[in-house]
Symmetry: C2
Subunit: 378 residues, 2 copies
């Protein structure tokens, strides 16, 4: 257990009985959200920060569940005492999104009406639905206003959506390595990942639980495809180059290069711990996200309602959501007369850079969060 | 039939009885190569140009097989009367590579020893093996020296390899949208494509012919993955953007966006016309290509033997084999004191740009080929 972590943490489960009407038109009559908190909520409840996770993330953003956990939560590099989101100052909340597979209600949950797992009958959820469900969790926790809503990638979309759907409840929105909408290429990658899953004969139209199987090969492929888009060409080159497994080529379709071995390993591991239906759902939420859609594609108009300050950060080598995508967002914020700080960070790691504590990133992120603390009188 | 084409052409089949020892250590006792020719070989046999095809290409580079063919050969934009490779001047040869599935001996061919299709027993071939087999075809055609060996992408690798393996038989090598070796990211994409094919239960360890089936879904996925890398983000954005199939979202995993529909269509069509084992083999040939390997990674040393002039061209939006990859090659050529003309062409189409007759590309390519003609006294 690293000394600068928040230490041992315990997830909590919150049940919601109030029906939730979703973007897709369907309604969830009840649901659970699993979440963790780090730090202490102050008396004036002015120090709360919401962390929104990305495609394969969950509620376990920082600290450890057990003393001997090999790794801390997924954003431990940025959340903890003295870190950019300083738990000596802020009360941090992170939940597993609705539709997830790590404890919140999702496709793997038993449907109360049928007594069987939802599977493909779990409704498609959107970023807006997530914000709505997160707002209800905030109500339960007694948080009227977030000092900041923070997220990277798909998490950044949630932070942005929060600022538009609940403008009076967000003081700062931190949008890292994200985009105001997917490009055709982004959607194409998602579609291939979904096709890999749904083409797996073990998918059984999403009812694989009934067959006591999982579409492991499809999910593995989906993850491998995703993984390429998380790393830059440069980062992969530095990590693996053309290094081979053995001195001479075997001239077959087994593993010849280290990069093949790595991708296969990552894909296989993921396919054992993640739910395929959740993967489909998360990629669709990405596809659908486009706050400008209700304003004839005018992002400036979409932003008008917002009342918060923004911090937008991008990474030079990120080709999944490139700096240009963040700049489009920032330009719209400026046109809409919203306060925004923007930072393009020179980092070689590709999209994954938002998870990696490089000095300039940490410095810029910390400085912004210190400003948040100051403005909140913390 | 377009008026500026070479018109009707007929493929020819050439049988080879002399055994071919391959890079992988195995030997092919006999094989066929299918090829086409356009234009006339002159008396001094000084006007011959070899076209090398890329991953999914074949021998049908120009003209039509039948009057009512909807499309001409794959590089008809660059080969024909008055085109960059001017068939009024040059005698052009293009063949389907060994291991292909369009008429040359490959996995779908009946193995003379067993009487069954080779399938996975067809040996892995390399770019060097292709050059060797192409040299034998040149012998049969009475071509001692090529005025030029020309190729894009994987075809460019063959042109480069020709200049190193048969330096005395190549006057000019034209290497378009290519690279001296794959990056880790390139290999990763290939590995995922292969994994998609080999994970398909219809693959049957490559012996799908015996089961009267094909791994269509795997091959479809492989092609979809490849397709993304052939187009630029920009080109996909211009072609499809976020255009949806219907006015409102269906909120399901069917086709919501035009780009999904396009990719699915392309993938499906390809899976009906291409052999999966050939796809595996072609991607492996890409992975293995690295002329510097025998020289401790020193490309300059690898180039020393060459006696030809080079034309290298890259395209600004190509992220499969980016301009930087061509520049590495050009820098090595310059260090090795080889004559080289290099042209980075500003084109939005991505890797596919080498197939698209944009004005600057056509002008540069034509100018170089006119120089070839002049030097050959044509």
């Amino acid at each position: 257990m690293l000394a600068d972590s928040v230490g041992l943490v315990e997830p909590k489960l919150q049940h919601f009985d109030q029906a939730l009407k979703l973007d897709c038109g369907k309604t969830l009559s009840q649901y659970d959200l699993i979440y963790e908190t780090y730090g202490e909520l102050n008396e004036s409840r002015s120090n709360a920060v919401l962390i929104c996770h990305a495609l394969s993330g969950d509620h376990h953003a920082a600290g450890y569940h057990q003393e001997d956990d090999p790794k801390p939560g997924w954003w431990d590099s940025c959340i903890g005492p003295g870190k950019p989101i300083d738990t000596n100052v802020f009360f941090v909340v992170c939940l597993n999104n609705l539709g997830g597979c790590k404890g919140s209600t999702g496709p793997t949950t038993l449907c109360p009406e049928t007594g069987e797992r939802y599977g493909p009958d779990f409704p498609i959820v959107t970023v807006r639905d997530w914000v709505e469900s997160q707002a209800r969790l905030a109500d339960v926790l007694g948080i009227d206003v977030w000092a900041a809503v923070v997220g990277g990638s798909l998490g950044g979309m949630q932070a942005l959506r929060w600022s538009l759907d609940y403008p009076e409840r967000v003081k700062h929105a931190v949008v890292i390595a994200s985009t105001p909408k997917l490009t055709a290429q982004n959607i194409a990658f998602n579609e291939i990942a979904r096709k890999a899953i749904t083409s797996d004969p073990s998918f059984h139209d999403g009812r694989y639980y009934l067959n006591d199987t999982v579409p492991a090969k499809g999910l593995m492929l989906a993850r491998m495809i995703g993984h390429i888009t998380y790393l830059s060409d440069e980062a992969m080159g530095e990590k693996f180059g053309r290094v081979t497994k053995s001195e001479n080529f075997n001239f077959d379709y087994g593993v010849e290069f280290e990069v093949e071995s790595y991708l296969n390993y990552q894909g296989k591991r993921f396919s054992k711990t993640f739910d395929a239906n959740t993967y489909l759902l998360m990629t669709r939420a990405l596809d659908y996200f486009d706050p400008a859609q209700d304003f004839d594609g005018d992002l400036v108009k979409a932003l008008e309602v917002s009342q918060c300050s923004y911090f937008v950060a991008s990474f030079s080598s990120d080709w999944r959501f490139s700096p240009e995508r963040s700049q489009v967002l920032v330009d719209a914020m400026i046109k809409a007369n919203k306060p925004v700080s923007y930072c393009e960070i020179d980092a070689p790691h590709g999209h994954d850079a938002f998870l990696i504590p490089t000095p300039r990133y940490t410095a810029a992120f910390s400085a912004y969060m210190q400003r948040v603390a100051k403005e909140q009188g913390l």
